[in-house]
């Protein structure tokens, strides 16, 4: 173990900006290498700004207006359709097309016209059309939700259509932004929106998504537990199939 530490220590010494070698020293008879990151007041780094020449900004770079009610000849009342909310979103809906910045949903939910307007006005007010572009990744509200009048008793058929919503599944990208700008410029406005959405959401960049994928792969490969929930469900260990739902058989505890 001490041999491994010495190797790691010397490798660290070769790579850090501090040019004196990091020597392993002894604590209570064991050889110990000091930690890697050494904070020291030093020369300020003026990093070269990133190159965004490959990014094109379209003519109409602001978010489009979405209607409150779809243009239909006949408005039909629909069943609740909760399976539109269950499980993960389609793989193409979880990827950033512009490969820059966006908002990702971390839990399922329903978005109303009010949420759409909030997003549209916040972004259109704050963005600079010459250096940024923004794009919807979701459709205008199309799913009708009914509601009975206030104070009425049960019965008398299904209620009338009250409003329209867009169902959103987990891991879906809501809105995308990009342009010849760094993340720090876009982060405040996207964070403001993510906090106001009716489900848990977070601001993501392409690098963050790639990092998460790598992290997940590493976790899958380096699991020291010989049992996973997937094994348990597939092999019906401990007779657990009685207590496992059909969604666990498909998504193994990741999605409800």
């Amino acid at each position: 173990m001490s041999v491994l530490l010495r190797r790691v220590g010397n490798h660290i010494g070769h790579n850090t900006s501090k040019l004196c070698l990091i020597q392993p020293h002894h604590i209570a008879g064991r050889q110990v290498c000091p930690p890697v990151c050494v904070l020291s007041a030093g020369l300020k780094n003026f990093p070269i700004p990133r190159n965004y020449d490959h990014v094109e900004i379209p003519e109409q770079s602001k978010l489009k207006f979405y209607q409150r009610v779809p243009d239909l000849v006949k408005h039909v009342r629909e069943p609740r359709g909760i399976k539109m909310l269950r499980g993960p979103a389609d793989p193409e809906q979880t990827v950033l097309i512009g490969k820059q910045y966006g908002i990702k949903a971390l839990s399922p939910g329903l978005m109303r016209w009010g949420h759409f307007e909030m997003i549209r006005l916040t972004i259109n007010r704050r963005m600079d059309t010459k250096t940024m572009w923004a794009k919807w990744r979701i459709e205008a509200p199309y799913k009708p939700l009914t509601k009975k009048g206030q104070g009425h008793r049960m019965g008398g058929g299904k209620g009338a259509i009250d409003h329209y919503v867009t169902p959103i599944k987990q891991d879906r990208i809501i809105v995308e932004m990009g342009g010849k700008i760094d993340f720090e410029v876009v982060h405040p406005m996207l964070r403001e929106i993510a906090q106001k959405l009716p489900f848990q959401a977070k601001v993501v960049t392409q690098e963050m998504l790639e990092e998460e994928e790598r992290e997940e792969e590493w976790r899958r490969e380096n699991n020291q537990n010989e049992f996973t929930f997937e094994d348990v469900v597939k092999k019906n260990m401990m007779g657990c199939s009685q207590h496992i739902s059909k969604y666990d058989r498909e998504w193994f505890g990741k999605y409800q």
Binding site: V8, C37, L43, Q224, M238
Partner: protein, 248 residues
């Protein structure tokens, strides 16, 4: 999985296998509800199985908590020195000075600023010695691939560098005698790495012409001695004959 403990009852079995049940309740949309604030209970068996099949991290072989709380090992080996163009530029300048000057002395500074510093620099300027500052990382970079890379041992703490075209160690030492805040660590004189004692010895050496003269005299001493020995009996004989002729 867990350490071996004596299982005496069902309760202890549960405690051994899954000491804490994290998931007892989920946010689930069940039946016709879209409202997620009402949570559904998970059955105990499912909760136990979820606890038992949790992800386990690989054992951390690092010793101190500082290391364990730091980066993962693969990430540590990926760390790269930050590119700093300003530092590279300064190191290039320092390397140029190192290569073109006849003397570069490494001085250690303690409590030295303002008027004292200006006086010190002015005194050295009289003998054409300039004093410059480079941080340890920049100086280390400058010296890295040169044959003088052992100078990095001196680059600890607050250092200044006195350099001149011709090696002028004597004037430098004279000024340093009067300034106690500055101390000489070592240096590079005439292409040779010297310690403080070496530089003091170098300052006391005579000039080049004198040395040449000394060397010439040493070399010719043997020759002159043999010629004198050979000529001595002849001279003695001529002196004796002169004496005899003068007396007679």
């Amino acid at each position: 999985m867990a350490t071996l403990t004596r299982i005496s009852s069902a309760a202890t079995a549960v405690r051994v296998v899954c000491p804490t049940l994290d998931h007892m309740v989920t946010q689930v949309r069940y039946r016709k509800t879209i409202n997620t604030r009402s949570k559904k209970h998970i059955s105990v068996i499912k909760a136990k199985l979820l606890a038992v099949t949790k992800w386990k991290a690989p054992q951390d072989t690092r010793m101190t908590m500082a290391e364990r709380c730091g980066l993962r090992e693969e990430r540590m080996q990926e760390t790269v020195v930050q590119e700093n163009p300003l530092r590279d530029l300064m190191a290039k300048e320092a390397r140029h000075v190192l290569e073109t000057s006849g003397m570069v002395a490494v001085l250690h500074i303690s409590d030295f600023s303002g008027p004292d510093r200006r006086v010190f620099c002015a005194k050295l300027k009289e003998s054409d010695i300039t004093v410059r500052f480079w941080s340890n990382s920049v100086a280390g970079l400058a010296v890295q691939d040169t044959p003088y890379s052992t100078l990095t041992t001196l680059m600890v703490g607050m250092n200044m560098y006195a350099h001149s075209l011709n090696p002028q160690v004597a004037p430098l030492l004279k000024v340093l005698k009067v300034t106690p805040q500055v101390s000489l660590l070592g240096g590079l004189v005439d292409g040779l790495l010297m310690s403080k004692a070496d530089m003091e010895h170098y300052a006391q050496l005579p000039s080049m012409e004198q040395c040449h003269g000394e060397v010439v005299s040493v070399l010719s001493a043997g020759v002159s001695q043999t010629s004198q020995l050979l000529q001595n009996p002849l001279q003695q004989l001529s002196r004796n004959l002169q004496q005899i002729s003068s007396s007679a």
